[in-house]
Symmetry: C2
Subunit: 247 residues, 2 copies
């Protein structure tokens, strides 16, 4: 499938709109993805308005893709609709717990990726915003998400106005294990990460950040222990507020 | 894309093997999926041996697909490899926390779904086992998963020996929201779920389970509050043991 082999994150979009008919067709096709008990434990909030994007942008550290894309999709783990269905049908739902969040998040993420493959196959360009889990409360407020609905993925969607180079990947041996997990030792690490560390763009990345190794750029600057620990608390607190976690 | 439009869960497989070359090609292609910081925070454990499948089967309630498929893939959220890389490179990792688990689980699930689309496009049949999150500790032991590695998805993979009917889906309006979330009321629920409830197979499902409504089959039998709450504790405990959650 060419779109998967040629996947690039697209951050710059042309002025051409993404027609609602096309978007809806892709969302409907993506809904063929299997889900828990065929309950489809996800929802998608489609943001096209300037005001809507302005409300979301700070949650995503004002990355320019949010304002620059014609469409922003926020995909949510959603046990609300199923819970309301049960309540309307003389059934007693029990989905205000962590397992149910993980089940719904799984449905939402698998759906998100089917949509991504289909959208790229249709020629659209996407950027997946990992920031969704960093400040979920702000997204919950911007989109008026009720309890048992939680944002897990954001995609900015438009027609590509750039063609970046393919990014590198680890060799298959780095992530495929036969029968049981084989814990990597130093020699494995050298083998798995050598090519990535030798890339000129990564050497430059180390230099401009005044670090000694590429790994230090990740641990000291991009994804630090301090930030991860603080945002873990924020994330757990938001899960509690949305009803998915109890003491 | 025909494979997505025609997606069916396949639980019966022919005796034909899934050649390692084909499987590895599909896994390598799926690794084009975007990940956090291009760190590829996942691993795949490939189970082909009878002993390996026997070790996994009880975790999946002995569903026959585990023993019946030539290949079982367990996809794991993996911050272990990245952490070891950092330790080998004079960097101080900080990924033993809940946000890091969610980031790695996200990478793992998006990868899983790209693989699924590619595998179905190649003619393979898959069954996604949602049981992975129910008894994670048993899977962790069967596959020797070390700390910072956690199973999030299982696929049984083989060549299809059945052609089930397409399953139903909710209408687009049930899961797509424009600009903000629109909380469904009774009239919406009737509209979203009417067709599903009217299906003869679902009416039969209600009858044989001696229930009044389809929703009751889900809340009272398939996904009960009691089971969800117990398994939530099991899941949180397993996350603690694997190093992703602290008090």
């Amino acid at each position: 499938m060419k779109s998967v082999a040629n996947h690039r994150t697209i951050r710059k979009y042309s002025h051409r709109d993404v027609e609602p008919e096309l978007l809806n067709r892709l969302l409907a096709e993506a809904s063929r993805t299997q889900t828990m008990g065929n309950l489809q434990l996800y929802s998608v909030v489609v943001t096209r308005s300037r005001e809507g994007k302005e409300a979301l942008a700070p949650s995503h550290f004002n990355q320019p893709m949010v304002m620059g894309a014609p469409v922003v999709l926020t995909v949510c783990a959603d046990f609300r609709r199923t819970t309301t269905w049960a309540q309307c049908r003389q059934a007693t739902p029990g989905y205000d717990n962590f397992l149910s969040f993980m089940n719904a998040a799984t449905d939402a993420l698998l759906f998100t990726q089917t949509f991504s493959v289909l959208a790229e196959e249709a020629g659209l360009g996407l950027c997946y915003l990992g920031t969704t889990l960093y400040q979920p409360q702000a997204i919950i407020e911007a989109l008026s998400l009720p309890s048992l609905v939680f944002p897990v993925a954001t995609l900015t969607v438009g027609w590509p106005a750039e063609e970046p180079a393919l990014s590198d990947r680890l060799p298959l041996e780095a992530f495929v294990h036969e029968e049981t997990y084989h814990d990597p030792v130093q020699a494995d690490i050298d083998c798995f990460y050598g090519a990535k560390e030798a890339l000129e763009e990564n050497r430059e990345f180390v230099r401009i950040n005044h670090k000694e190794t590429l790994a230090q750029v990740f641990t000291d600057l991009r994804y630090t222990k301090k930030d991860n620990e603080a945002m873990s608390q924020t994330l757990l607190e938001a899960l509690r507020r949305q009803g998915f976690l109890h003491e």
